[in-house]
């Protein structure tokens, strides 16, 4: 299983660079990293997915993150029940004749068509990574022109994540 970390960080210039630089110099590999505002002003929330599976190595990554001055808290939620989502925008080559078929596929994946042009469509699909992979696979034969994926965002189910000291 890939490691999933949720990090709360100070919303200050250069913090993303500090974190990216840490991963580079410690030779940890980032699979995806997403960042955005959290419920608290001045605090950004990151979901970081690494390719590390082994528990002790995962702890070393987490503790390296936690010791950064701008990192408020880090949780390794790899083994915690979580809602994990990713969104993809997929631009497909589809003229009038093909549109219906693409829309049928989109329907199956609860995806939405968010842009229609004479030669192309954009499909927006949200879900766990496996679902997105599958959707991309099915759309492949139509001719995919572009894909943009957000990377994973994660939130633990049920209990509210504690702040400070637990990492």
């Amino acid at each position: 299983m890939k490691q999933t970390l949720i990090a709360l960080v100070e919303d200050k210039p250069g913090v993303l660079n500090r974190i990216a630089s840490l991963f580079r110099r410690r030779n940890f590999n980032i699979e995806s990293l997403t960042v955005g505002h959290s419920e608290t002003p001045g605090v950004s929330r990151m979901t970081i997915v690494t390719d590390e599976e082994e528990l002790l190595r995962r702890n070393v990554i987490r503790s390296n993150l936690y010791k950064m001055v701008n990192v408020i808290d880090v949780h390794d939620v790899t083994e915690t029940p979580c809602v994990v989502r990713e969104t993809a925008l997929i631009k497909i080559k589809a003229d009038g004749a093909m549109r219906g078929q693409v829309m049928d596929v989109a329907e199956m994946y609860r995806a939405r068509i968010v842009d229609v042009a004479t030669e192309t469509l954009i499909v927006e699909v949200t879900g766990e990574s496996e679902k997105i992979e599958s959707c991309i696979g099915v759309l492949e034969p139509f001719g995919i022109l572009e894909i943009m994926r957000t990377g994973k965002i994660a939130m633990t189910r049920g209990t509210v994540m504690p702040r400070n000291g637990s990492a």
Binding site: V9, E10, P13, G14, N17, R18, S21, R25, V43, L56, N59, V60, S63, N64, Y66, K67, M68, V69, N70, V71, I72, D73, N164, G165
Partner: protein, 572 residues
């Protein structure tokens, strides 16, 4: 009471409030407003003009290590700041608390490749504990307070503040902030949990062959007494890392000496045979462990370390305790059962005896001076009480082996980064704190030439340091590796030196040359009589080696031993 102050004036007010008495620096365009304020601060703070910004940073580092206080260095933007990088990296690896303040081009010019502009916060990001670019003078005082707090707390380390020129010149109505420092993401750990204490005690009280690994953390945490108490209570032998030297008196019967690549053979045998390692404030550096896969294969391991990211980084441990060492030992020691471990200590003492027979000092044939003899002479001539600032190379390892340190903070050396050129500027820095002991530089002919320009600083400040140059005409440690691992191809390691006695004269300090064993102490006496810097060149045997040695990546007990004195003559 608020008064109008410039950013530059705020810098100094903050430094003075942090108790800073000496700043090591070098002026330049982008830091000029801050240096200019010094004209109004006579008697309040002393600025030492080094001859290179690397020297300023090492000096701040040496001051910090000798004093336990935060060292401060100051430089201009661009090249001034980039010259500090080696010093920052040195301080980072050895957890030395320094604050570096660098000038930066004005905020309006940042990003435009202005004259002497470098992205200094970017460049120094991986070699600082934290760094700041201050773009608003209103944030300046709080930033400096945070910088000092971060530098000296938790696992100490270097903090850099990059200060644009317009921020130095900006005027505001200023009142020194007194709110408690609140860094939401920075919480130095305190003590161990009850479960951790119990788990550690379970291992300690049931071990037959325990060893304490005492690192730099013993000194940084001030846990000297606690470590000795633990050792004495349960009769546990101690070995130190290079930076842990002085944390336990060398003369203590349980102190086996330094571990690792050039550690005493008995320490490495003991580590490999141990059934319990108690690692106190150290980080299992590769120079300490040898090959990781075969390191101390049969031992349980307790690791007490203030930096959580060090726990399980190199060596898998059974009990990892992320907390302040002294605090943890005060929690653990009361529960430690009295034990004598006589069989284990007996075995160690057999190893020690075998080692001492191989001591290079017993090889007294011939009259040429060996580096170890020069260093042992310095130990004798200073009654073992000096603060030694050693450089990097063979002399550094020989110093660790032959200068027996009884007290903490009496060895200042670049351990983790192995920065050649560290010693002279670091000793100048240390001399601003150390007044009741002699300060001796021990450097090689290679190392000293890297920062020899700081002789001028030593003379200008009349720094009371004695500089011992161990001159073997080679980059000796590299030459040793060439002899052992590169079929004695001495590529680019023979190195010439200036005439150091004449050089000393040119710089304006007394200089002496010693090439005979019997002259070591008498020459030292002459140097000691002089108040101020003195240089002594010790011309030593060229092809001498440092033994024992664990080849890089070999098993820790696969040491190349010092040839036995009688059966195998020392190959010189």
């Amino acid at each position: 009471m608020a008064e109008i102050k410039t950013g530059a004036e705020i810098v100094w007010e903050c430094l003075l409030r942090e108790g800073v008495e000496v700043v090591f620096g070098y002026p330049g365009g982008a830091i000029m407003p801050t240096h200019d304020v010094l004209s109004k601060l006579e008697g309040k703070v002393h600025h030492v003009l080094t001859r290179h910004e690397q020297g300023a940073t090492h000096a701040a580092d040496g001051y910090a290590r000798a004093s336990g206080k935060v060292g401060v260095a100051m430089a201009t933007s661009g090249p001034g700041a980039t010259n500090m990088v080696t010093g920052l990296a040195t301080a980072m690896m050895d957890s030395s608390p320094i604050v570096c303040i660098t000038g930066q081009v004005s905020t309006t010019a940042i990003g435009g490749d202005a004259f002497q502009e470098t992205d200094v916060t970017g460049v120094t990001l991986p070699v600082t504990k934290h760094n700041y670019l201050v773009t608003d003078v209103n944030d300046l005082a709080q930033t400096i307070r945070e910088a000092f707090y971060i530098a000296r707390t938790g696992r100490p380390g270097p903090v850099l503040i990059d200060l644009p020129k317009d921020v130095q010149n900006a005027k505001i109505e200023f009142e020194y902030p007194t709110d408690p420092i609140d860094l939401p993401g920075y919480h130095p750990p305190e003590k161990a949990s009850d479960e951790q204490v119990a788990a550690a005690l379970e291992l300690i009280n049931n071990a037959d062959k325990p060893v304490i690994l005492a690192g730099h953390g013993v000194l940084m945490s001030g846990a000297m007494k606690e470590v000795v108490e633990l050792a004495e209570k349960a009769s546990i032998p101690i070995t130190t890392t290079l930076l842990g030297i002085g944390g336990v008196p060398a003369s203590h019967p349980l102190n086996m000496g330094m571990m690792g690549m050039h550690g005493e053979a008995c320490t490495n045998h003991a580590i490999q045979e141990a059934d319990l390692l108690i690692a106190c404030g150290m980080r299992f550096d590769d120079r300490v462990t040898g090959k990781l896969a075969t390191y101390s294969p049969n031992s349980k391991k307790i690791h007490i370390e203030i930096d959580a990211s060090e726990i399980n980084k190199n060596i898998r441990v059974d009990v990892g305790i992320h907390a302040d060492l002294g605090t943890v030992l005060r929690q653990i020691n009361p529960g430690v059962k009295k034990q004598d471990h006589s069989a284990w200590l007996g075995k160690i003492s057999d190893w020690q005896e075998e080692s001492s027979e191989r001591d290079v000092l017993l090889n007294s044939e011939g009259s040429s001076l060996l580096a170890a003899q020069a260093i042992k002479g310095i130990w004798e001539g200073t009654d073992g009480k000096a603060v030694i600032v050693s450089d990097v190379g063979q002399h550094q390892m020989l110093e660790a082996q032959y200068y027996e340190h009884e007290d903490p903070d009496t060895l200042v050396t670049s351990g983790g980064l192995g920065t050649m050129g560290f010693s002279l500027p670091a000793a100048i820095g240390a001399s601003f704190h150390v007044k009741d002991r002699e300060v001796w530089v021990i450097a090689g002919d290679g190392s000293i030439q890297m920062t020899i320009t700081e002789l001028a600083t030593a003379v200008q400040e009349n720094a009371n340091i004695k500089i011992a140059i161990i001159n073997n005409g080679y980059l000796g440690m590299v030459r040793q590796w060439q002899q052992l691992f590169f079929d004695a191809r001495y590529v680019e390691t023979p190195i010439t030196s200036p005439d150091y006695v004449k050089l000393a004269e040119a710089y304006g300090l007394p200089g002496y040359r010693v090439d005979k064993r019997e002259d070591v102490i008498p020459t030292m006496r002459k140097a000691q009589e002089h108040q101020g810097p003195v240089l002594i060149e010790f011309v030593v045997e060229q092809h001498d080696m440092v033994y024992p040695m664990v080849p890089a990546g070999a098993d820790l007990d696969a040491m190349i031993r010092r040839p036995h004195q009688e059966s195998e003559k020392l190959e010189l």
